[in-house]
Amino acid sequence: MNKVLYSSISKKFVMALAGLFLLTFLPVHLAINLMLLNDDPEPFNKAAHFMSTFPFIKVVEVVLFVAIMIHVIWGILLQVQNWIARPVAYKAPNRSDTSPFSRFMIWTGGSIFIFLILHFFNFYFIKLGIVEGDPENFYSVAHNLFKIPAYNIIYWVCFILLGFHLHHAFYSAFQTLGLNHRIWTPVVKVMAAVYAIAIPIGFAYIPFVIWILK
């Protein structure tokens, strides 16, 4: 049974499922973030409050953490195995035609993970009481962060990298689940591109307005 659970395909199956779940989470997060553009802090703070208290969301939150951890740990494990599978590197760079984004998933993923840790310090740990701040007023916490130029630069770079990650991730998850179709796979690829551009732009737009336009 272990052999099955830890086979290459099973590990990838789990990676894909966790990844797909994370893909559905991002638009929800973005929708709430867009409320930061509202001059009235009330709606955003209410949404943030709802997200941290509503029982069903509490369950989803646990699933989310598990999904992130599995995606990260399995991702690292798979990558380490992949490095071991070619102990001596080619001297000439490999020029086989591949999607450029697919080649750097571990690095784009790693950057997103580092950002996630930063994000936890900035928000989640306030909620847990580990870091000082007002958990009932994330609106001003966010607004204050978006006034720090260095933070915004890091934020934008991370979201560009997230876009690169998503571009391959979206299609790749379907392929791993065995969903490859003459007509639908090209559609999935287009959707992947749209998703990978729209989500990061959506997130990056918020500090742009708060820092530059306001």
Binding site: S8, I9, K12, R86, A89, S96, G178
Partner: protein, 244 residues
């Protein structure tokens, strides 16, 4: 024409190996790449030097023996062909051509450009066959089979086991090869009977041998001389999920 060859020379699987550079004159554009290497070897032998070891057999793109990594491309910079089908016409006078063996933990170098691909045989032996009795060659119409499936099985069966997919993959994964071997049987009625055991065993052996994990980058498909498609890998994944 004259070319500068940077060829990987390695005594055996234990030694480290390094590039040796040969300025080689008198190459004609009509030569195949392997004929050019033959000519180089003749020259090396005449000079009392050790010829370059490389694999080859049919020289017509069907046996899967040949294969080297040329200028960063497994088999050939021209897509869809094996090394033996590569012509010197593709190169220009004065070009530098870098030639390396295929590199993967599972394909240890035997000598120079020769690698041991018996790992593929081990995967094949684990289940790439039909053991139920299908009798003598049946009448072609006696076993109903959809034309689409027959065609797809035929396409998958064109894999020659050359290993370019492993060589091209940044993860040294054998998924394209295995997916072709699984597909050619999974698509046909005779192959369905043992489909579950087959995919379980073959995947398990592939993992044990130490091939990497597929990350759907598609370098394998781009370099496969037989046009084996990534759709085969999706089918392999489906077959694997169905086996439990």
């Amino acid at each position: 024409m004259k070319v500068r060859l940077k060829i990987w020379r390695q005594k055996n699987s234990k030694s480290k190996g390094a590039f040796a550079t040969y300025d080689f004159d008198g190459v004609s554009p009509e030569m195949s790449f392997l004929e050019m290497l033959d000519a180089l070897n003749t020259k090396l032998v005449q000079e009392g030097r050790e010829p370059v070891a490389f694999d080859h057999d049919c020289r017509e793109g069907i046996c899967g023996s040949c294969g080297m990594y040329i200028n960063g491309y497994p088999h050939s910079p021209v897509p869809g062909i094996t090394t033996c089908h590569l012509s010197m016409r593709y190169f220009n006078d004065g070009d530098t051509i870098t030639v390396e063996p295929w590199r993967a933990k599972t394909f240890p170098v035997i000598k120079d450009l020769m690698v041991d691909r018996s790992a593929f045989d081990k995967i094949q032996v684990a289940g790439g066959f039909i053991s139920v009795n299908t009798g003598a060659a049946p009448d072609s119409n006696s076993i109903p089979c959809r034309k689409k499936h027959a065609d797809e099985a035929f396409d998958s069966a064109s894999c020659i086991g050359c290993g370019a997919c492993v060589a091209a993959c940044k993860n040294a994964s054998a998924m394209l090869f295995l997916s072709a071997k699984i597909s050619q049987l999974a698509l046909l009625p005779q192959g369905r009977i043992e489909a579950k055991e087959r995919v379980r065993e073959m995947v398990s052996v592939m993992d044990e041998l130490g091939f990497g994990n597929c990350s759907n980058t598609g370098a394998c498909e781009a370099q496969c001389p037989k046009g084996i498609k990534l759709t085969n890998i999706a089918r392999l994944n489906r077959e694997y999920y169905k086996a439990f």
